[in-house]
Structures are given as structure tokens and as C-alpha cells.
């Protein structure tokens, strides 16, 4: 048998099987089962099953991020159900409405480790590949079944290797690389596939940028994404409190077989924008520069990490948001917000006229930040489907935090190069 990809190795580890070729279906035992606000559906499903014994309560992780804090009595009831269940069942990895977006919270607090198989009730669970884990989205009753049985069916995916060389041009970031790639191969270009990122740019990236890469891989249909763990990863894990003895780094073999290899040349890439209403409708920022916007949203698991807020603050420092434009900033987690406050970033954003909200999914999950008919938002999130932020007759453009901040200052879509100091 030829060399194995990361996906083959990770699923062999999780299933105890050997020589897994793409296409094989196995029973895999995930290391962590993440459920967000949809946890209430998992709990209701468990009740319908008669609440059988749980396989391993320490593998359950719940984060109340999607509608946080509750907006109605009904969602407050769902949160209460989750809190009550966590207490009764002994779920210790439970983060309430104050913590932030599940993916980011779990990664920054040492719950996600290299080589692990992690399932989540969220399609952007591909993000865990930023730390060398196999993260993938599943349905809520699949999470419930795994709570009980400890295992879930998994098909071994084919793999795509993506090479990104750098350094990136000024004003260009991981978001621009991913938008270009999604634009090139399409929204279904990596469907059912594991995507492995390589190249000089990837090696030089922070974990935060790697999260953006792996998060956005979902928008080309990927099952999971992967950045090979290195010294940067291990330093991040140390800080997150993950004991080095508690995980094993899995790397693909040099002669592993890939379905295809894609290349993005970061050195010549400028800022990119996904225009309404699909994520693969991507153009250079210069093609849509001057488009008037009503609102700018800096948030989501794609781009509301500390680095993202710092870049936005860099652009916004000493400037103000254009008249008539609303700038909403939603930090990904409470830790990120706390650091942003400590380092003066919160002050810069507020002085520029931003509305700062509590950490969480916020407007990306449809909570706050809705648009009226005919309005336009420039967003750092990962989706721009019609009606995702309010009116069906509104439009969402996607881009990097730098492009978003430059757009907020000018009131029209703008190339961040022109405003970066």
C-alpha cells in the first residue's frame, strides 16, 4: 500500500482499523463531541431514547454560542435545558452564553488536540484542522447516538492538497487566499474530501490564520481540513493548557496519494471579495471597489479572532466609520475580547464608532445586525447566502477584516492597501 494521507491515518487511529482506502466506511470513535446551542435537540433526542447510559461523558463538550444571550423566552428555555442536563449528566466541558463561539473557545482552552477525531453539530467543525485534528460536522441525532454508543460511521475521504506560497502581498490575508481558492474550484470543489494545506505561507502562519483556512474549507464542500502541526501549533497548545503527553501528532506520508493538488500564489494575490449571493462568486476587491454599503460586520468563527480585531483596529486607528454606516464588531470569544480590551483595541474600535457586541456567533447566526430591504453588508463571516442577515432583498459581500475596516471608513468597498499604515 502506498503512503497514507492525514485523513487515512486519523480514521485508522479512531477506528482501530488498518490499511483504510478512500471510500471505506468504518465505525470511528471520536475523541470529542461538540454541540452548540443545538444541544437542546440532542438532549430531547436522548430523552426520547429513554436516557440510556452515556459512553463517556468527558468527551461531551457544549457551548451556548448561537443565540447568546437568549433573545426570547423559548431560547432561554433551551439554554436552561442544556445547563440542567450538563449538571445532571456531569458534563464538565460546558461553556455558557458568556464564552463565545464554540470552535474558538474549545481550541483556545485546550480541548482540541492534534490527531484527534472531533465531531460537531456545526458544518464549520473543519476548523479543528488548524491544530492538526480531524474535525467534521454531523447532525444532532448523530451526536446523541455517539453520546450513547461512542461511535459513528465515517467514510474515508479522498484528499486534496492545497499549496499556498508566500509571503502574502500587503493587505492580503488568509481570508483572501481562501476566497480565491473557493472561487477557483467552486462551492463543491472539495465535496467529501479532506483538504491538506501546505506551503511556505502556511508554515509561516499563526494558528489564528490557520483557523481561517480550515474554517473556510467547508465552503468548498470539504469534510475536514488539515494544517500539519509544527512548533507554532505546539506553542499554541502549550498556552491553551493541552499537555504534550496527551496527544500524538499525525502527519501524512510523503508519498501519500492526493486526488488533486491546487496552488494559490499568495505573493501576487491582492484582497479578494465574495459578492452576493454565493461564497464562490469571488472577484478581486478592485472589481467591486466603490460599492456603497450600509453595514460592516466583523465577526464569526472565520474572522473575529484576536489578530483579526487587531488588523481592523490598525486600519480604523484615528479614523471614524463613514456617516450612515453601522460597524458591528463581535469578538469570537470572551478571552479574545478581554485581550482586545487590555491592548487598547476595544478603545480604538469604539472611538471609530463601532458597535461592540458580546462574544458569540452574533449576526452570522442571524442574531442582531439584520438588514432592511435593499441594504448591503460587508462581512468577515463565511457565508453570504440570500436572507442570511435579515431581508431576502439584501446583499452580503465577504472579505478580510482589513477590507471590512477599510470599507467601514470609506462607506464603500475599498482596498485595504490604501488605508494600511
Amino acid at each position: 500500500m502506498s503512503g497514507r494521507t492525514f485523513a487515512q491515518k486519523a480514521l485508522e487511529r479512531a477506528s482501530g482499523e488498518t490499511d483504510l482506502a478512500p471510500g471505506r466506511i468504518v465505525d470511528a470513535f471520536p475523541d470529542l463531541y461538540m454541540s452548540h446551542t443545538a444541544s437542546w435537540r440532542c438532549i430531547r433526542t436522548l430523552e426520547r431514547m429513554g436516557w440510556p447510559d452515556l459512553y463517556d461523558v468527558d468527551r461531551i463538550a457544549m457551548v451556548m454560542d448561537h443565540i447568546a444571550p437568549a433573545d426570547t423566552a423559548k431560547t432561554a428555555g433551551y439554554h436552561a435545558l442544556c445547563r440542567d442536563f450538563a449538571r445532571k449528566a456531569g458534563v464538565t466541558t460546558f461553556y455558557d452564553v458568556n464564552a463565545g463561539i464554540a470552535h474558538v473557545v474549545l481550541m483556545e482552552r485546550g480541548h482540541v488536540k492534534p490527531g484527534e477525531l472531533i465531531i460537531g453539530t456545526d458544518s464549520h467543525s473543519t476548523i479543528y484542522g488548524a491544530l492538526g485534528a480531524f474535525g467534521t460536522g454531523v447532525g444532532y441525532s448523530e451526536i446523541t447516538a455517539t453520546w450513547v454508543t461512542g461511535k459513528l460511521w465515517m467514510k474515508v475521504p479522498e484528499s486534496i492538497r492545497v499549496e499556498v506560497d508566500g509571503p502574502l502581498a500587503r493587505g492580503t490575508y488568509a481570508k483572501d487566499v481562501m476566497l480565491r481558492l473557493i472561487g477557483d474550484i467552486g462551492a463543491d470543489g472539495a465535496t467529501y474530501c479532506s483538504v491538506e494545506f501546505r506551503g511556505s505561507y502556511v508554515e509561516a502562519m499563526s494558528v489564528s490564520e490557520r483557523m481561517t483556512l480550515c474554517n473556510l474549507a467547508m465552503e468548498m464542500g470539504a469534510k475536514n481540513a488539515f494544517v500539519p502541526p509544527d512548533a507554532t501549533t505546539l506553542a499554541y497548545l502549550d498556552e491553551a493548557g493541552a499537555d504534550r503527553g496527551s496527544y500524538e501528532v499525525l502527519l501524512p506520508d510523503p508519498d501519500a496519494v492526493y486526488r488533486q493538488v491546487e496552488r494559490v500564489d499568495g505573493r501576487t494575490l491582492g484582497a479578494q471579495v465574495a459578492v452576493p449571493h454565493t461564497v464562490d462568486n469571488v472577484v478581486p476587491v478592485t472589481a467591486v471597489a466603490g460599492t456603497k454599503v450600509d453595514q460592516v460586520f466583523i465577526g464569526s468563527c472565520a474572522n473575529a479572532k484576536y489578530d483579526d480585531l487587531a488588523i481592523a483596529a490598525d486600519v480604523l486607528a484615528g479614523k471614524t466609520v463613514a456617516p450612515g454606516v453601522r460597524l458591528i464588531v463581535t469578538p469570537a470569544s470572551s478571552r479574545i475580547m478581554e485581550r482586545a480590551a487590555r491592548e487598547g483595541i476595544v478603545s480604538t474600535l469604539l472611538a471609530a464608532g463601532a458597535t461592540l457586541t458580546n462574544p458569540g456567533c452574533g449576526a452570522c447566526a442571524g442574531v442582531g445586525g439584520a438588514m432592511a430591504d435593499g441594504e448591503v453588508t460587508f462581512s468577515t463571516a463565511n457565508r453570504n447566502f440570500r436572507g442570511r442577515m435579515g431581508s431576502y432583498d439584501s446583499g452580503i459581500y465577504l472579505g478580510s477584516p482589513a477590507t471590512a475596516a477599510a470599507t467601514a471608513v470609506r462607506g464603500v468597498i475599498s482596498d485595504p492597501q490604501e488605508l494600511l499604515t
Partner: protein, 165 residues
């Protein structure tokens, strides 16, 4: 796992956000079901009948992995979804909740909206009764068919606990 009924056609890359809009996600199913795919075809949630077949292009059910989207489609009475390809979260969720689905490359060239179709997912057979066109593809894995037959993953864990021991 057999469906026979009217064909409802949809395009490529239909997101789950269109199947169940975010604002309906936490509503009861009797509310949700009245709005499934309404933006793309307002007649669909009103006129869809048990056994009808949804035919879509590439990457059906992309975007959010919300299983409620599949549940809502099943609740309309749709007997089967046939697509050129599915988004992987939608495909998983279909087996999870017991909605028969079939990947059939080229299907969009074989149907017009309103044709009468018969589909047998377990056999991998597709027939357009209006035009006479027929196709056959390898059926899904036996384990997945078992899950569909039981009515989804949770139903299967109850019915066949030994599979999960």
C-alpha cells in the same frame, strides 16, 4: 424506500438556509413545513404531495449542517431527493433522519418540473414515467440502507441495539 410522484426541480448549490430559514429554525415543525423552499418556488410547500420527488443539481443542501432542513423536507411528505451530488452534511443528515436520497449524475437532463417519477433507492433505479427515461446507479452502502429502512439513526439504535454495542 420507493417513491412515486410529481417531480419538483431545483438548481445547483441550494443551501439549507433556503430549506429552513434561520428565523424558522426554532419554530415547531408544523410552522417550518409551510415555508420549505418557499423563496425558490412558493408553490412547493403548498402543493407538494406524499411520494413526490425533489430533483436538484450539484451540491444540494450546501451551507449550514442543520439537520432540521432534512427533517423539514421529510415532513413535507417528499418520498425521495435525487441530485447530481449532495453536500456531505446534507447526505449524512438524510440517512440520520431517514429521508431517502439518491445521487444520480446527469439527472437534471432527464426531468422537467411536473414529470411523474418513480425511484427505488435500495435498488438504485430511477424512471421518468412521463418520458420513459431510465437509469440505474449503485445503491448506497447496505448499512446506510438499513438506517433508512429503520427510519433513521435513532430508530436503528432502538431496533438493532446489537449494531451499536
Amino acid at each position: 424506500m420507493r417513491a412515486r410522484g410529481r417531480c419538483w426541480t431545483f438548481g445547483d448549490n441550494i443551501p439549507t438556509d433556503r430549506l429552513v430559514k434561520t428565523r424558522y429554525v426554532v419554530e415547531p415543525m408544523e410552522v417550518i413545513v409551510r415555508h420549505v423552499l418557499e423563496d425558490l418556488n412558493p408553490r412547493f410547500p403548498v402543493e407538494v404531495a406524499p411520494g413526490d420527488v425533489v430533483v436538484a443539481g450539484r451540491h444540494f443542501g450546501q451551507s449550514s449542517g442543520r439537520a432540521i432542513a432534512v427533517k423539514a423536507l421529510r415532513a413535507t411528505g417528499v418520498g425521495c431527493v435525487v441530485a447530481e451530488t449532495f453536500a456531505r452534511t446534507f447526505l449524512r443528515n438524510a440517512f440520520e433522519v431517514g429521508l431517502p436520497v439518491l445521487e444520480l449524475p446527469g439527472v437534471t437532463g432527464l426531468v422537467s418540473d411536473g414529470d411523474v417519477l418513480s425511484v427505488d433507492v435500495a435498488a438504485g433505479t430511477f424512471r421518468n414515467e412521463t418520458t420513459g427515461a431510465e437509469r440505474e446507479v449503485p445503491p448506497p452502502d447496505a448499512f446506510l440502507l438499513e438506517m433508512l429502512r429503520a427510519g433513521g439513526l435513532i430508530a436503528l439504535t432502538r431496533e438493532r441495539p446489537e449494531l451499536f454495542a
